[in-house]
Amino acid sequence: MEIGMLPISASKRGKLLAAGYTTLHSIATTSITHLATDIEVSESEALEILNFATRNSALERSSGSNTNVIQGGQTAWDMLNEERFSSSITTSCADLDNILGGGINCKEVTEIGGVPGIGKTQIGIQLAVNVQIPLDYGGLGGKAIYIDTEGSFMVERVLQIAEACIEDMSEYSHHFHKDNQAYGVKMHPNSILENIFYFRVCSYTEQIALVNYLDKFVTEHKDVKIIIIDSVTFHFRQDFEDMALRTRLLGEMSLKLMKLAKNFSLAVVMLNQVTTKHVEGSFQLTLALGDSWSHSCTNRIILYWNGDERHAYIDKSPSLKSASAPYSVTSRGIRNSTSSSKRIKMV
């Protein structure tokens, strides 16, 4: 029933049907006053319904010669041109950046999961600092939102990573712009800390409320280029009896995050925990929150131990090849692994 597609209340829908309006076309071709008297609503409400109906019925009209046939759609060619200029945020580890096609992509939701101690929070903090690298140095010059659900955001560590990042930038400018004084690094670690907006979330209610509020927040702070949620799992793992409800809430939350990423051209990074799953008679590690959650992100990266080295594996991505790259966590943050065999393993 086409009327069911309109985002109006159930009682209004019922009135439309009772008055004989069964198709969108019938609503679209009537006048406001007629509609208002027929279903006994005010003229402004009738206008609202009319607008919804005409917007939707435009989808049905097809004219072959028009390129912009469907409202709100985009051709693949336009998207390709857009993607060429789409930016990415470096992880400070060249191998990891390579398999990611440059870094963590804006306009996409990336999920990163792993066992405790593998470095998820470290990568989160590194990205919150790296998004602020100025445009002159190949960065985005943006700000970061860090949503902390577990209390793992330690300011001492952010300061360490920020200082190391500034030192690296100075070294870079010293090598490449020896004569040019204008490239002196003017950033101070405190200004990097100032550009990280921090929210501490203590329950799943607050987490959902915050994701709802982010739309308004990012509109007011247009230079935010990355949202990091550390971790998206924690509050949804504790005492949720109704699993179906959990799936619906998580689904809605992830849709909102995808919308944020697309509308504001920013990157959303969700850090996830692991759990064990019983598969074919043995236990395997898998990311938490269930199978339906695995569809919620654009890209999925799993961090794991390979012998004594930390590796990142691209588990799911519409555009990147499945590959694995080594990285290490140092006192300066995430960096390349120091092992001799630096070949990227193609799986």
């Binding site: 405190n190 929210f199 395997q284």
Partner: protein, 367 residues
């Protein structure tokens, strides 16, 4: 935050009444439904629902701070920017000053390795006056297995800080600041937690020690879902307690033996593993921490105490602010003493393994 009433949020009367009519009273009720479900339930259009939810979300949402503000607050308000020094030089350096405030620090190791000794020393350190490097506050010590020994506490005190403890009445004052609770069940523990929460700020409590968390949880439920749920609730509560009061919370955990070949892998690892030729499996028997992987995610700092070839080590197995270091230590009359402040850097997941080799008289210590 989540229990804020909707009719007190400044929503237009008409929509607030609709929420109340459908028995959606608190913000949590509203946020526990998807917007589509709300539209169906309240019989209003999508735009009204979105507007109302945006308003409710903004009210319930936690406040925004910047990382700079956090750092400045801590430097200004807290001793050593939010750390409790352990007086073990190498460990304190690695931990940027000491046991951090506001997060959970876990001590895990085999029985008799020195976890309770460490806790006794920490409670003493927290009760010391500020000019001696302490927090000058009360300590709540939750002693599940009745391991707390006041005699040992005074001994550690007199040997480590003789100049303070020989003063008249100081020993009594120090010991008087440490409050010991002995809950016999998980529910009793939960009750005492609620009471602790109320008195935390009033009573100037500066440290909470739970010795041991494992004994509390493992004694109650059979393994599985009910235990995980009970643990989950307690973990959340203790974490929020740590955060809102900005005190260090130290918990001890037991070990269990590894069951079978427990080197868990992901599905993509399993695939590539089976195609390679079998690498020889090393039968290095070791222990793992109890309480599961969920718990391992929840603690912020994990200190592993183990014994390898007769030498005890304390390792920084999980810490967002420290390199993976292992320090050899001994237990003396004045508590734990590090033998080497530089520490040995450990690569890989090896640091998480817990050994218990070559210790016959673990509970004794050199006098």
């Amino acid at each position: 935050m989540a229990n804020k009433l909707i009719n007190q949020m400044g929503l237009p009367k008409s929509i607030a009444n609709i929420f109340a009519a459908r028995n959606i009273i608190t913000a949590k009720d509203a946020l526990s439904l998807t917007e589509f479900e709300l539209m169906e339930l309240l019989d209003v259009g999508m735009t009204e629902v979105t507007f109302a939810m945006a308003h409710i979300s903004e009210v319930v949402c936690p406040p925004c701070q910047t990382a700079l503000l956090l750092m400045e607050q801590r430097v200004r308000n807290e001793s050593l920017a939010g750390h409790l020094p352990t007086r073990l030089k190498g460990l304190d350096e690695a931990l940027c000053g000491g046991i951090p405030f506001g997060v959970l620090t876990e001590l895990v190791g085999p029985p008799g390795i020195g976890k309770t000794q460490f806790c006794l020393k920490l409670s003493l350190l927290a009760s010391l006056p500020v000019n001696c490097g302490g927090l000058e506050g009360r300590v709540i010590y939750i002693d599940v297995e009745s391991k707390f020994s006041s005699k040992r506490l005074i001994e550690i005190g007199t040997k480590s800080f003789p100049e303070i403890f020989y003063k008249k009445g100081m020993a009594q004052e120090m010991a008087g600041r440490i409050m010991i609770l002995r809950p016999t069940s998980l529910s009793e523990f939960a009750e005492s937690l609620h009471r602790i929460k109320v008195s935390l700020l009033q009573q100037q409590v500066k440290l909470l020690i739970i010795d041991s968390m494992a004994a509390l949880v493992l004694g109650e439920h059979d393994s599985g879902a009910s235990r995980q749920q009970a643990l989950g609730w307690h973990v959340s509560f203790i974490k929020s307690l740590a955060e809102f009061s900005r005190i260090p919370i130290v918990l001890t955990n037991q070990v269990r033996s590894q069951i079978g070949d427990e080197s868990l892998m992901y599905s993509f690892q399993a695939r590539s593993h089976s195609t390679k030729e079998d690498t020889p499996v090393t039968f290095d028997s070791h222990l793992v921490a109890a309480l599961g992987i969920n718990w391992a995610h929840a603690v912020t700092i994990r200190l592993v105490l183990e014994s390898k070839s007769g030498q005890r080590f304390i390792k920084l197995a999980k810490s967002p602010i420290s390199p993976p270091l292992a320090f050899p230590f001994n237990i003396t009359a004045s508590g734990i003493v590090l033998l080497d402040d530089n520490g040995i850097e450990m690569k890989g997941p090896e640091i998480n393994n817990i050994h218990c080799q070559g210790q016959n008289a673990l509970s004794n210590y050199e006098r």
